[in-house]
């Protein structure tokens, strides 16, 4: 570990991804789940750039650009759904939303 290598970035990416995943599993507030999903996406982005950085390739960065764009669209739609949910069923607790299905 004497030199800054791709392992460092991958480890960081893994840590962020797992924290995000645990957040999704543990929390019930839909907004926090949303944030954790964003965290996981970012973790994936770090990996993509890290590999590209190691292999002297820019493809990883282009992928990340697309990911960010898709994440923006996802955020817009997701947040709109949350807003609509809050208006219609008065909760953003996923467990309760689940119960409202039937």
């Amino acid at each position: 570990m004497g030199e800054l290598g791709v392992e460092h970035f991958l480890s960081l990416s893994a840590a962020l991804f797992i924290i995000g995943m645990m957040g999704v599993l543990i929390r019930r507030n839909i907004l926090i789940i949303f944030m954790c999903v964003e965290l996981m996406l970012t973790a994936a982005n770090i990996s993509l750039i890290a590999f590209g950085w190691q292999m002297h390739s820019l493809d990883g960065q282009v992928f990340v650009l697309f990911t960010i764009a898709i994440a923006a669209a996802e955020a817009a739609v997701g947040l709109a759904i949350i807003l609509a949910l809050s208006r219609r069923v008065h909760t953003v607790d996923v467990a309760e939303i689940h119960e409202l299905r039937d």
């Binding site: 809050s86 208006r87 219609r88 069923v89 008065h90």
Partner: protein
């Protein structure tokens, strides 16, 4: 939304949680049927643009107002009750304190009510001077309205320009009666003091300056897209609504209803003066703005005519022949009889005949009515003030529903309230 029905709906017709005015409290937030969460916003009584101490409780859905409830009474000083415990001549100064931005107009209404009670009329020359002072006061009042209304909507400089011109009018008042704000200018029976020789010149100067300045205001606001966007189509009062809320003044005429007391029931010498009444077409904030601006121009016309006329006159200013009028001050220094008469009038006041009188005048804000009942004593039995902005303020909830938060300040401004007059 106003519904016109044959019978007045009773309280029982509405469900308990029906959003009606007068029922809002700041402690409860409410959720609408469609799930929108309402925020309660308590606006005032300490708020920069509620024109004093008006308090408005708003229920907001985001920025849109669902419900609005004006709460008044923070400036209530019991002017009507005070009027019933003072002798007639002493009541007039209290009226200064109701609509304090247009004190001479208040004085005028009160004095005219008392004169009607005593069946007495001021001399013609005094009536001309009353018209001049009342119309100057109307401009002063409209300038405060314009300045604060524009300031509320965000045009910062407007207020300073307006107060600059208002200073000129206040200087005229000061030269005329010695006071600037609470003038106590009108007296029962005319004017007991002579007109200062410099006064006509001061008024002429003002008449020369003001139309130019009016052009500046209009140039700053009329052609301003943001001003148009903020005022056009906002706060529309339909004619039905204007009538059913008994609006008067520019709020009524802005909706296109032709009712100006100076024309409809001419008092003083208004029937001898040539002026026009502006009427709006759409009844929105911008129409009321245009109406008031045009009123100021017409007022200039009125003052010019009245001044031209009165400067040639050399008749008395006071109806001294009446017993209800304060005796001349001049004789008190030389003869005992005059001094006694004066003394008795001042100490005991006068007792008008038993009866009642109502006089409504066209105040800058609408119909200002004074209703006096005399039981033959030297104190009014009943003294009632129909203040125009109190009545006009009633339309605020109607206007505010469905408007946006930023519109509320525009609406409060367009109704043109002075809390001293609303609360009395």
């Amino acid at each position: 939304m106003m519904t016109t029905s044959e019978t007045t709906p009773s309280v029982a017709d509405f469900p308990a949680d029906y959003p009606s005015t007068g029922s809002l409290s700041i402690s409860e937030d409410r959720t609408l049927d469609d799930g929108s969460h309402l925020i309660t916003l308590n606006m005032g009584p300490q708020h920069p643009s509620t024109h004093g101490v008006l308090r408005v409780i708003l229920k907001l859905d985001g920025e849109v107002i669902v419900d609005c409830d004006p709460v008044i009474g923070y400036l209530h000083r019991g002017v009507e009750k005070l009027g019933e415990s003072h002798r007639y001549a002493q009541v007039v100064p209290w009226t200064d304190r109701t609509d304090y931005v247009a004190a001479p107009l208040n004085n005028l209404g009160c004095v005219m009510a008392f004169e009607k009670l005593c069946d007495l009329r001021a001399p013609e020359r005094a009536e001309y001077w009353r018209v001049i002072m009342a119309e100057l006061s109307r401009i002063a009042s409209h300038l405060v309205w314009l300045g604060t209304h524009a300031l509320d909507i965000g045009a910062l400089s407007m207020s300073l320009y307006c107060f600059r011109e208002r200073e000129l009018i206040l200087d005229i008042f000061e030269a005329f009666c010695g006071a600037r704000l609470t003038t106590n200018m009108m007296e029962i029976g005319g004017f007991s003091r002579p007109i200062p020789p410099a006064l006509p010149g001061m008024i002429r100067d003002f008449l020369k300056i003001f139309p130019e300045r009016m052009k500046e205001y209009a140039g700053l606001l009329d052609a301003n897209p943001i001003w148009l966007a903020r005022t056009k189509g906002v706060g529309v009062i339909t004619q039905e609504a204007a009538l059913s809320y008994s609006l008067t003044g520019a709020c009524l005429r802005g909706s296109g209803i032709n009712y100006d007391i100076r024309k409809a029931m001419p008092y003083l010498v208004y029937d001898r003066l040539d002026f026009e009444v502006p009427l709006g077409t759409y009844g929105d904030v911008f129409d009321r703005y245009l109406v008031r601006m045009e009123e100021m121009r017409q007022t200039i016309k009125i003052i010019t005519q009245a001044l031209d006329h009165v400067e040639k006159m050399d008749t008395p200013l006071m109806a001294y022949e009446s017993a209800y009028v304060i005796p001349p001050h001049k004789g008190t220094m030389t003869t005992a009889e005059d001094m006694q008469r004066h003394f008795v009038w001042v100490i005991k006041g006068f007792s008008p005949p038993v009866g009642e009188a109502y006089v409504g005048i066209e105040h800058s804000k609408g119909e200002l009515g004074y209703y006096v009942v005399s039981d033959g004593s030297s104190l009014p039995y009943r003294f009632r003030v129909r203040s125009p902005d109190f009545v006009n303020l009633g339309v605020l909830p109607h206007l505010a529903q469905g408007a946006m938060l930023a519109d509320v300040v525009a609406l409060i401004g367009t109704i043109d309230i002075v809390l001293g007059s609303v609360d009395r």
